[in-house]
């Protein structure tokens, strides 16, 4: 029930936030913040009653009783669809990331949103609820439901509070993800139908479907449907084109959630579903997927280098960084997977912070064009310093979270394919180039007289506090990544066991 409550708190909280606008104009954001923090505290309290995460027994992927939490109840028994939620180390990391970044996003919306505040905070909380559902659902139908439904509040956030070209961006975002979602639905139903014809039972449960026996050809096609759906969301090259538009046009809080959390659902889906459900097919496909990942790393970096729009540059850098995640997943060994998980967490923080800085700049300058910015450090030293920190974090400075992640991915990848590693490693260099370019163009150099005259306001206490949370998180991840690695390790190990388990060998013989 804990997991249901986590989602319900957010759903009901959203409703409260919307209604609280009638009390006072500033009420919704306070209510929303309280709701997210309540959710976070509630989760931590529930966890404190459990064995230390570091001492977790290695869970068995297809045995829910070894997971941290498991909940199951019937929903549509006619088709074997149930409400099945479960939590293991990776889901837990993602849920924590979601709630922390959710609080950060609310802080980002504090002064950014000026109209219809109640409805905005409601949408924000509802999309968080959907994301939590995605990270916890283990009935494939329920997973699909959360996967689709989390988009609707996000769509509203872009369409109502977005910037000048919001209609186009919101539409593109929705169509890309919905169309790929339909592919996933087809794949899910095909997988279930294959399983049903073999066993005679309708079931959508992850645990039952893990051992579905199917022909090689069927596995390839079904796997591809999942892969495309997840890679669109990730986004991986060449399905990334919705991302720059959506991220650029979304309000700051929307960008934070999009980049920080929503993209991770794609990576999570790959780790949880696309590979373990089809180990054989995924193995055959892995080198293609890794080349796509490497292409994403390089292509994203090159495009980021060419941008003049502050937010668009960060958006393309996300494409590059998520390329590492794709690489890490399809290298499919422990080091690389650890790196991918680490990247999901670290990238969540660093990009969220950069988007917040972009949002603050837009709020003050009313432009995102870097050609109009210059020498902003002089007037806003605090913002400049913070930006410097996150830029170097994002380019992978040793000692910060992103470095650990990318290093682990490359290390694991090296054992699998040297050439791809070489190509991907160039991403680190180009990453440094565009990151520093961002810093130089906006904060360094000759101060633009226009901004000197208008008198810009530096970061205040609220903004510095929010940034501090993320700075601490990244430093912590950089110098002491062990807790994250420990939380993920048993799960990853069990997934690795699953793909090399005897059942696979039997299929091979058959």
């Amino acid at each position: 029930m804990v997991m249901i409550n986590l989602i319900l708190i957010l759903l009901i909280g959203g409703l409260l936030a919307m209604l609280s606008e009638r009390i006072s104009d500033t009420m919704p954001r306070k209510v929303a913040m309280v709701v997210v923090l309540t959710d976070l505290v509630y989760l931590l309290l529930c966890l404190s009653g459990m064995p230390e995460i570091t001492q977790l027994q290695a869970p068995v992927a297809n045995d829910p009783s070894t997971w941290l939490m498991h909940f199951k109840t019937d929903w549509i028994p006619a088709f074997g669809i149930s409400i099945e939620l479960a939590l293991d180390g990776i889901s837990l990391l993602m849920v924590l990331l979601t709630l922390i970044l959710g609080a950060i996003a609310i802080s980002a919306s504090w002064t950014d949103i000026v109209v219809r505040k109640g409805f905005f905070e409601a949408n924000l909380l509802w999309s968080l609820a959907g994301v939590l559902g995605v990270f916890m659902a283990l009935d494939l139908m329920l997973f699909f439901l959360f996967w689709e439904v989390m988009l609707i509040p996000m769509y509203f956030m872009i369409a109502i509070w977005g910037h000048e070209n919001r209609g186009y961006a919101a539409m593109k975002f929705f169509i890309f993800t919905q169309a790929s979602g339909l592919l996933m639905l087809m794949s899910i139903l095909a997988l279930v139908a294959v399983n049903q014809s073999a066993t005679g039972i309708w079931t959508f449960s992850y645990f039952d479907l893990l051992n579905t026996q199917m022909t090689e050809q069927a596995a390839h096609w079904i796997m591809l449907g999942f892969f495309i759906a997840f890679v669109v969301k990730l986004p991986g090259f060449p399905f990334h084109t919705w991302l720059p538009d959506a991220h650029t046009q979304a309000p700051t809080a929307g960008s934070v959630i999009l980049a920080g959390i929503l993209l991770k659902t794609g990576a999570y889906g790959l780790i949880r579903f696309a590979v373990p459900l089809f180990p054989e097919a995924a193995l055959d496909f892995s080198s293609a997927a890794m080349w796509l990942g490497a292409a994403g790393v390089v292509y994203g970096a090159v495009l980021a280098f060419g941008q003049t729009d502050f937010k668009r540059l960060i958006a393309y850098s996300s494409v590059s960084h998520m390329g590492f995640v794709l690489l890490g997943i399809y290298a499919w060994n422990e080091l690389a997977l650890q790196g991918a998980v680490m990247q999901m967490v670290a990238h969540g923080f660093s990009t969220a912070a950069l988007f917040m800085i972009a949002g603050s700049l837009q709020e003050r300058l009313h432009t995102r064009d870097m050609r109009e910015m210059s020498g902003l450090w002089q007037q806003m030293p605090r913002m400049g310093a913070v930006a410097m920190f996150f830029v170097v974090a994002s380019l992978g400075l040793p000692g910060l979270g992103n470095f650990v992640a990318e290093f682990l991915v490359l290390l694991g990848l090296f054992q699998v394919n040297i050439w791809i590693t070489v190509v991907a490693a160039t991403g680190l260099i180009t990453g440094a180039a565009y990151s520093l370019l961002l810093m130089q163009r906006s904060f360094q150099g000759q101060a633009n007289q226009k901004w000197v005259d208008s008198g810009l306001v530096d970061f205040g206490t609220r903004e510095m506090l929010t940034m501090a949370v993320m700075i601490v998180a990244l430093i912590f991840l950089g110098i002491y990544p062990q807790p994250v690695l420990d939380a993920a390790q048993p799960v990853l190990q069990s997934l690795l066991n699953l793909t090399t388990s005897p059942t696979v060998a039997i299929v091979e013989v058959m």
Binding site: A78, I160, A170, A179
Partner: protein, 473 residues
Amino acid sequence: MNATMFSALAPILMLSLTAVVLMIQASIKRDQSVAWVITAVGFLLTLWSASYARDFIQPVTILLEVDHWSLFFTSLILMASLVTLVLSKETFSSEGERKEEYYLLLVLSVLGAVVLIQSSHMVSLLLGMELMGVALYAMIAFPERGQLPLEGAVKYLVLSACASAMLLYGFALIYAATGELSYAGIGARAALAYAENPMLMMAGSAMVLAGIGFKLSVAPFHMWTPDVYEGAPTPVTGFLATVSKSAVFVALSRFYIDGALYQFSGLNTALVVLAIASMLVGNWLALRQKNIKRLLAYSSIAHFGYLLVVLIALTYLEADLVSQSITFYLTAYIVTTLAAFTIVSMVAGEDTAKQNISAFAGLFWSRPLEASALTVAMLSLAGIPLTAGFMAKFFVITVGIQSGLWGLLAVLVIASAIAIYYYLRIIFAMTQSAQSSGNSANWQEKLAAIVLMASILALGSWPQPFIAYAGLL
């Protein structure tokens, strides 16, 4: 005919009685509100009699087959007709002298639909279809002012007549091939007749398919749809889109299943072509529409394309799952489409300028109830989870996968992806800031909107009871 047969016919008798009472009332004292009340009571009594007839299911002569399936659809279209009735009151109260006739026409049209749903014989099929259609021509042309209703009605009349002619000729050919007019009789002799003279059987059933395809407005028989949808008064459009089309589809499925037509691969290929054309043409042409009623017209073309996939799957699956899917899909379609037209009627009424999508701007802020209901309806038409439309699509895809219709499913995915664009356009328009001053709605209309919205969400989020119920039909 014995007494239990009359009990089985209770819905039809009750509707006929309502029509008679309405005529008597009009000859005594002309009053719109009295006519409205009589019709409403008549519909409610018919609804009750449909559940009463459940204890007496049997074939009534060779013409009608009263079974659970047909009684379910009878109840469903009666509920849809009640919504139409609620919407009609406001719409037609501004008309001139002769507005009582509208209610008479509505009752007759519903009567035709019920006959159509229960038909098990080509004669009753034709009777029902014509009764429903002829009353509809007059309903479409009912508003006195404006040319659009008249244009729509004439278009519908002329093309309907062509379709009926096709249908009749098809019946004649099938009769020539099999010597039978009842579905079951055809089903029993179809294979033999086909072996003797394949051309006759194929030509006959293809012509029947074309005639019915016209009424369902599947591509390429869809030309009349947008003009009639736009021209007809909004409640009538809603009625046409839901009651008329669903009744025809039910009749088609019975004909197809009982007449064992699914065994002919040539006919199946024809259905595949119709389905693909409808899905693509409907969604493609909807993209550029500005008038919301025209947009919904194209959307309904696409939806019947999706539904045809289920009929095609009949060749590979047992009829149970297929009829269950049809039940769910049509229910979801009726509820969703009716919700959409209810909102259009509440917000835009008969004003063509207000039916423009851009005129819906700002609806979220000026009329949140209507905007939410329309959003839910659009998401349901687009097939987003938690709505009835998603579960309906779930059925179609499940049935398609089990039959291995991969090509059709690929088209379905592409078509659905295209469709998201135009449904979202409406939602997007409503979220934008603008002053919009819609018509005021009365409480019955608001109630209808809330009930329909709740049903869409209930069917989508907790479908188990309904699936279990539909499985027993």
